[in-house]
């Protein structure tokens, strides 16, 4: 994989660049752990007042939270710099990436790579460990297998959202924040049970922007919870398929975007 190799090379350069400001480095690794953990603190605060939310218990919601955060964390680690893409296009430095002999997507993904992004994954993984132990589930082989499948497919689905967002930025360079609504908004949404939300919203994130396959649909199967809208039984195992579809579409959008890239003025 030429792309992965290039990704590693560039990420390495950024890590070494980051090390030149050592104090900030330590600060931000720790800070990132805290920032990304605030959502879970919010959930804990809620559960200091109630025993269940939308009919789901704390360990169950913790499982949703952990799956959402871990898979988002992986995507964010790999492609989290997509929001600087707009700035790169405005100042013209995006051109430089286009004259190098390695895939642009790998270069954009590795751009501003920072070790601190491990904070989110670490925090998600810790909660995941606790939730898997605490949750009241009759574990079968299929259910056990479904956990890593969720994390990997979820990461792929979120990656597709990042890439699609990047493609969107080629057309609307100043609107990078729209992407946040789908990335950060998406991971926040999935931290809460689907039963909390309106049916139209659930339908939207199941069929239109299929974020529900990151955790909601398969986790509902693992936890023996009814899904708010009717889905066939096999849907719980469809996450990898959905992920492949999302990545293909995102890749297509990215290619189209690159071909219509206009560069800066002069």
């Amino acid at each position: 994989m030429e792309g992965l190799r290039a990704y590693g090379l560039i990420a390495g350069m950024w890590v070494r660049s980051g090390m030149t400001y050592r104090a900030s480095f330590v600060f931000t690794v720790f800070g990132n752990l805290l920032v990304t953990g605030l959502d879970f603190v919010g959930i804990l605060l809620m559960f200091s007042q109630v025993d269940s939310l939308g009919g789901w218990t704390l360990p169950e919601i913790a499982l949703l939270y952990a799956l959402s955060v871990t898979s988002f964390g992986i995507a964010d680690l790999l492609l989290g710099s997509m929001d600087v893409l707009g700035a790169r296009m405005r100042d013209g430095s995006f051109d430089i990436l286009l004259v190098r002999p390695v895939p642009v997507l790998a270069q954009v993904g590795a751009d501003r790579f920072a070790v601190r992004r491990l904070g989110r994954i670490t925090q998600g993984a810790v909660v995941l460990g606790w939730a898997l132990v605490a949750v009241d589930v009759d574990w079968s082989a299929v259910k056990v297998l479904l956990v890593p499948v969720m994390v990997v497919s979820g990461a792929a689905i979120f990656s597709a959202v990042f890439v699609a967002g990047a493609a969107f930025q080629i057309f609307a360079q100043d609107a990078a924040e729209v992407q946040n609504a789908f990335t950060y908004g998406g991971t926040t949404l999935l931290q809460y049970p689907p039963s909390v939300f309106g049916k139209d919203l659930v339908r939207g994130v199941t069929f239109m922007l299929p974020l529900a396959f990151v955790n909601w649909v398969p986790a509902a199967y693992v936890l023996d919870r009814p899904y708010p809208i009717g889905l066939p039984g096999w849907a719980a195992f469809a996450s990898p398929l959905v992920a492949v579809g999302c990545c293909a579409l995102a890749g297509l959008a990215w290619r189209t975007g690159l071909r219509s890239y206009r560069s800066t003025g002069s």
């Binding site: 090379l9 350069m13 030149t20 100042d91 430095s93 286009l98 004259v99 190098r100 002999p101 071909r259």
Partner: protein, 325 residues
């Protein structure tokens, strides 16, 4: 077919532009940044590509490197269609953007070269050899361990040129390679490029605002304006096409009517006590100054050399004149 290393045939680039015409109203119209350009560049040629700002220079270079996809026409570099096979082409070209560095800001210069070594998969021996040669020619020896952010503009430009050449590209594109550099750095860069072109017969295509770059380096010049190729030939021909003029800027003691200068010198602009006179580049400035000083109260004066913009502007004037007569 070495005759046509770079080949353009009726290449176009059209941009859709949306202009705001009211609070929410927008008008769409099309801008032809490059309008049916055709030329070929042979292997080993060194060509100046010039024109006023917004003429389509950068757009052409960006299509040649695969950054932009042409809207029409046929484009080949080393037989490759740049926008279709951008990464394959990247191994065979080198690009230097005058105002943007490709070097790693916080890391020592050598680290950026090590990245190029691995990213371009340059064989170890060849990398060593090229690095040694470029370090020597571009005088980079003492800079290799210095973080790029501490380099001067001239040092960084040399560093960038070396980075673009480590993988032995067959063609080098330079976008304003001497912009903002001091005289010594300019000379170093030009000497190096001449040597690169003669010894390794690397094809060089450069855009510049500096007429001296062209005079000292390029046997062939292409002028582009409003997206069209308006001149393609030797620099001497360009001088004939529009004989260049120098400008004498005169500060008088007080505001006066335009100076009555001996033709063909003439006043082109008056601003308070300051007046601008245009005169042929071949004529003597000293004589003109003496004649003015004899009749007018001079405070200060300076002579401006012709620049490319002026040459091109003159070229147009002459053309328009010829069309009228």
């Amino acid at each position: 077919m070495d005759d046509a290393f770079i080949e353009l045939d009726g290449v176009e680039k059209v941009f859709d532009v949306r202009k705001k015409t009211g609070f929410l109203k927008r008008e769409r119209h099309q801008v032809r940044a490059v309008d049916s350009i055709s030329f070929t560049v042979a292997r080993g040629e060194m060509v100046g590509y010039i024109g006023p700002n917004g003429a389509g220079k950068s757009t052409t270079i960006k299509m040649l490197t695969g950054i932009l996809t042409p809207s029409g026409g046929r484009l080949r570099v080393a037989g490759i269609d740049p926008s279709r096979e951008r990464t394959r082409l990247a191994h065979r070209i080198g690009v230097v953007f005058g105002q943007r560095t490709t070097l790693w800001w916080d890391l020592p210069l050598i680290d950026s070269y090590k990245l190029m070594h691995r990213m371009y998969r340059i064989p170890d021996a060849r990398y060593r050899e090229n690095l040694d040669r470029l370090t020597e020619l571009l005088d980079l020896g003492e800079l290799l361990d210095v973080p790029v952010r501490q380099l001067s503009l001239g040092q960084r430009m040399r560093g960038d040129i070396a980075a673009a050449l480590l993988h032995d590209p067959e063609v080098l594109y330079l976008d304003e390679p001497t912009i903002g550099l001091d005289v010594v750095s300019k000379t170093k860069v030009r000497d190096f490029l001449r040597q690169l072109n003669t010894e390794r017969s690397t094809t060089v295509l450069l855009t510049t605002h500096d007429l001296q770059d062209i005079e000292q380096l390029c046997s062939r010049v292409m002028v582009i304006d409003h997206g069209r190729l308006v001149y393609d030939g030797p620099l001497t021909g360009l001088h004939e096409a529009g004989e260049s003029e120098r400008t004498l800027v005169v500060d008088l003691e007080r505001e006066l009517p335009p100076i009555e200068a001996p033709p063909p010198a003439r006043v082109v602009r008056v601003e308070g006590p300051r007046q601008w006179l245009a005169f042929p580049a071949s004529a003597s400035a000293a004589e003109l100054v003496a004649r003015i000083a004899a009749r007018y109260p001079l405070v200060d004066l300076s002579v401006r050399e012709p620049d490319i913009e002026a040459v091109i502007a003159r070229m147009y004037e002459e053309r328009a004149g010829r069309a009228l007569s």
